[in-house]
Amino acid sequence: MALPRVVTITAVVLLLGGGALYLARPDDEGAPIRKRLQSFAEAVNRSTMDGAGPQSRAQQLASYFTDDVDVEFGGGAAPIRGRDTLMGMAERLQPRTAMFRLKFEDVTVAMSPGGEAADVHLTAEFIRRSITSGEESLDAREFTMTMRRVDSEWRIARVTAVDTLR
């Protein structure tokens, strides 16, 4: 068999196999969580430009967290305990966050038995725009999260920064 024919058949088999695997893939039970995180990122980004007051913005974002949310950024920073504390900090930080965008990449979701909680692993990208030059710079950080379903909404219960390079 001529070599081009072998290559052609291999490519067709790979394409058909890939297509079959794609069509036969199991339902993604993590999809609602990914959607919720996407919505959170959009809310954060919207809150930097919607002209609403800091309190209103913090209220918008509060619905994405559980009352007892726990946030650990590591690197010697004190952990943040509770939604009220977190939102208080977000209110105070608002003017400084006005020129950044948040984006989540490589989100993997592992549902717990029962489907009421999930472990999430992701990379958060912070794209900052210089107020003076307009240039964008990218910063990224890896996080693990625990999300819980509360009042039929997925909420962030725990956030822990992961040191990719230790």
Partner: protein, 146 residues
């Protein structure tokens, strides 16, 4: 049919074998400038392990956001930085790719059996603004080429 084959070959090549990346930030200056296109050879370590001096891509939560750093220390070695100079097992490491240095100091670390010590080439920046440190082999996605 040829177009189909070409599309499939390109997809496989650039998705799994030679992955294009766009560099951001200045930590690899002057070797890699920001906003340039480079490629990661994902098969580079299929039959071997990273060696000192290799520039590698390190994954974060997945393959879409990567660190690009140089391999400085190998598994089992002791790595320290004194006054901006790297010492491996107490011996000075010659680093011709470093053009600017500040007097960084990093306490000695002993690398585990699958750990590598990774740093950027730009030592002229503040150590606090430069991400460096240890990573396990399974974090290394491939070798940066071109």
């Amino acid at each position: 049919m040829r177009v189909l084959v070409l599309a499939a070959a390109s997809f496989i090549t650039f998705k799994w074998l030679l992955v294009p990346i766009r560099t951001e930030g200045s930590s690899m200056l002057p070797t890699y400038a920001p906003d340039k296109l480079n490629f990661v050879n994902r098969l580079a370590y299929a039959a071997g392990k990273p060696v000192r001096g290799d520039v590698v891509a390190i994954r974060m939560a997945g393959p879409h956001v990567l660190y690009v750093k140089r391999v400085i220390g190998l598994p089992g070695e002791r790595v320290a930085v004194r006054g901006g100079t790297v010492f491996i097992n107490d011996k000075l490491l010659d680093e011709p790719y470093v053009k600017h240095r500040r007097a960084w100091d990093v306490d000695e670390v002993v690398l585990g059996s699958s750990e590598y010590f990774l740093m950027g080439d730009n030592r002229g920046m503040s150590a606090a603004d430069h991400d460096f440190g240890r990573a396990d082999l399974d974090r290394i996605l491939g070798k940066v080429v071109f």
